[in-house]
Symmetry: C2
C-alpha cells in the first residue's frame, strides 16, 4: 500500500511516483540488456524467464517465418506480457539481425543442435556477422571495431565440444559445427562465454537415461557398463539461472562455464538408486557392455544414432567428468553459491 497520508498534495505523490520510476530505471540500467535468439525453444524459453526474473531488460527475437506455429506466437505474447520486448527479425535479413543486436549488450543464442529436433548450429554464423557489423564504426575513414556486444553466448548448453574431437563418429557434426562457431567468434574477437550444461533432466533423469522414452522404466533398467562412470545432471531451469547469472560477470569473460554442482555429480547407479528409494521398488538391472551398446546403434537412423552416441560418450567414455576444469573454465556453483540448485531426487519426484 502506498503511504498516502504523509503527502500533502498531489505534487508530493507525483514526486514519489517519479522517484520510484527513477529508482527502477537506475536498477534496470545497471543490468545488461539481453537479446535471446531462439526464445520459444526448450532452452530459450527458460533463458527468457531467468533473464526477466533476474531483472535484465529482455529482448526476444520474433522471427517472421513463424507462420502458423500458434504455440510459438502465444509463448512470445506471454513473454511480452511479462515485460520482454519482442523484436522482429529474420535470419534471411542481415540488417534485421544487426538492428536487433544493436539494441542490447548481451546476445544469447539457443537454437537447437539436437538431431531429433532441428540442427541449426551453423546458422549462428549469420549472428556472428551481425554482431561484427553492429560494432563496426567508421571513424575518419578508418573502420574501427568497437564491440557494442559485451558478451555473446552461442548455443552450446551440452557437452564441451572442444574435448570431443576423437569421439564416436555418430552425431559428431554437432561438436564440429559448434567449434566452427567458436572459431568465428574468437577470430572476430567477440567477447564470449560458453555454457557447458551437461545432462538435461528431462532427457537423462526422468527416464533414468534409458533410450527411446522420457518416462521412468517400470521393471527393468539398462545399466551402462558397470554403472560407475560419473556424470552431471541438471534441472533445465537451473541451467538458465546460471546462464543469466554469468552474463555480466568478468570472471567468465572469454571462458567456459561448466555446470557441475557437487550434489548433482552422480553415477548411473546413483541415479537409479535414487529412483528406487523414492518408489520403494527395486528394478531389475541389465548391465550392457560397451560392445553390445555400440552394436545396438548400428541400424538406427541418424538422429537416434546421435542420441545413443551421447549416452555412450557420457556413460562409457565419461566425457563430462574425465577432466579437471582448467584455466579456460569456471564452475557455476563455485561462482554462484547463492543459487539453490535442484537435486536429482527432487527432480525425480515429479515423475512419481
Amino acid at each position: 500500500m502506498l503511504p498516502l497520508l504523509p503527502f500533502k498534495k498531489t505534487n508530493d505523490i507525483r514526486h514519489f511516483i517519479n522517484f520510484s520510476k527513477k529508482k527502477k530505471k537506475t536498477l534496470e540500467m545497471s543490468k545488461s540488456k539481453i537479446l535471446v535468439v531462439g526464445g520459444t525453444g526448450y532452452v530459450g524459453k527458460r533463458i527468457v524467464k531467468a533473464s526477466l526474473a533476474q531483472g535484465h531488460p529482455t529482448f526476444v527475437l520474433m522471427r517472421r517465418e513463424i507462420g502458423y506455429e500458434v504455440e510459438k506466437l502465444q509463448k512470445l505474447l506471454s513473454f511480452k506480457k511479462q515485460g520482454a520486448r519482442l523484436i522482429e527479425g529474420s535470419f534471411s535479413d542481415h540488417q534485421s539481425l544487426v538492428d536487433a543486436v544493436k539494441k542490447v549488450d548481451v546476445v544469447i543464442c539457443t537454437m537447437s543442435g539436437v538431431q531429433f529436433r532441428s540442427h541449426n548450429i551453423l546458422l549462428q554464423l549469420k549472428l556472428v556477422d551481425a554482431i561484427k557489423e553492429a560494432g563496426n564504426i567508421k571513424f575518419q575513414n578508418i573502420h574501427v571495431n568497437v564491440f557494442k556486444t559485451q558478451r555473446f553466448l552461442p548455443s552450446e548448453f551440452g557437452i564441451d565440444p572442444s574435448r570431443m574431437e576423437h569421439g564416436l563418429e555418430y552425431g559428431k557434426e554437432t561438436f564440429g559445427d559448434k567449434m566452427v562457431v567458436r572459431k568465428a567468434i574468437e577470430d572476430a574477437k567477440i567477447p564470449y562465454t560458453y555454457i557447458s550444461a551437461n545432462c538435461f533432466g528431462a532427457y537423462f533423469v526422468g527416464n533414468l537415461s534409458q533410450p527411446n522414452t522420457l518416462f521412468p522404466p517400470k521393471d527393468r533398467v539398462s545399466i551402462y557398463g558397470d554403472g560407475n562412470c560419473k556424470a552431471v545432471f541438471m534441472d533445465e531451469d537451473d541451467v538458465a539461472t546460471y546462464t543469466i547469472k554469468t552474463v555480466d560477470d568478468p570472471r567468465t569473460l572469454n571462458k567456459t562455464l561448466y555446470l557441475r554442482p557437487n550434489e548433482n555429480i552422480l553415477t548411473h547407479n546413483d541415479l537409479v538408486e535414487k529412483w528406487e528409494k523414492l518408489t520403494n521398488k527395486t528394478l531389475q538391472k541389465v548391465y550392457i557392455s560397451a560392445e553390445d551398446f555400440l552394436a545396438s546403434m548400428k541400424d538406427l537412423d541418424h538422429a537416434y544414432q546421435a542420441g545413443f552416441a551421447r549416452i555412450y560418450q557420457i556413460f562409457y567414455d565419461g566425457c563430462l567428468m574425465n577432466f579437471e576444469i582448467g584455466e579456460g573454465g569456471e564452475e557455476a556453483s563455485d561462482l554462484y553459491p547463492e543459487v539453490r540448485y535442484t537435486r536429482m531426487d527432487e527432480y525425480l519426484q515429479r515423475y512419481l
Copy 2:
C-alpha cells in the same frame, strides 16, 4: 489462518482438519470426473486447466507414443503438479482406453482436426468403442449397456459440421469426419454435447483474419467481400471455460452448445476497426471479391486450401451466424452469464 486458540487439544485440531478434508471430498464428489484425451494440444491444455480450475477431478491420457516430445512430457508433468492424474494409454491398445474411460464420468476429446497441424478426427471411433465397452455389463448372460460415461464431448470446437454438407470442397473432410463420429456416438446412444466454438482468437483475431500470418498487418488489410458478414470470435481460454461449465448441465445433454456471446459477434469491418482504434492508425483496405478469393486458393497445397476455405465459409458464406439456434442447441453465454468472457479489443491488446 487457522483459528488455533479455541481448540483445547490436538484432538480438536485433528477433528477440524478431518472436517475440512471431508468437506473438500464432498465438494470434489459432486463434480464429475473428467478425462481429457489430447490434453497437451492447443485446445486440450486449456480444457485441462479449466477442468482443474472448476474443481473437477481431472484425468489426462498420457500416450505411450510420446517418444522424445519433451514439451508434451513437461506439460503432462505440470498438469500432474497442479493436481491432474495422468493415465497411461494408447490408441493402439483398446483395453487401455477402456480402463481409462472406466475411471471417469465425462470424456472430452480434443484431438486436432486442423489440416496444417494433424487430422485425427476418425481416431475417435476407437474412443467411442472404448466408451461402449466400458458400459457393457454382462448380467445373467445378457449384455446390458448401462453407460458409465455420463457425457462424451468429441473433438469439435469449430464450425457446426452438420450445417456444412453443401459447402466448398476444400478441407471438407473435417466436417465429414466429424459427422461420422457424431453418427457413431448417437447410434451407440452415448450421451453427448457438441461444442461449436467458432473463431479462435489466435487464428482469426490477432491477425485480423489475414491468411499466412498470426500477426496483425502493418499497413494494408484484406477485407473479405464488403466486410459486413457477421462472425463470432472467441478467446481460447473462454472456449475451455464454457466447455467445462457444460459437462454436468442437463440443459445441454445431447445438444450442441454454440458459443455466441453477444459482444463477440462482429463483422470483419468491426474487428479491423477495433484494431485501428487501439493502434490509432488507419489501415489501407483492399476489398477482395468472392471470385478473386476463390481464384487465389487454386494453387495452394491442400492444408492451406482447407485454411482458406474456412475464411471463405465464415466471411463470404456467413456460416457461423446464418442460422438461428434451434431446439438441438443452446447458447453458452445465455446459459452461463456468470462467465466474464474476453472481448476482442481486450484480446487484441496483447498484440500492441
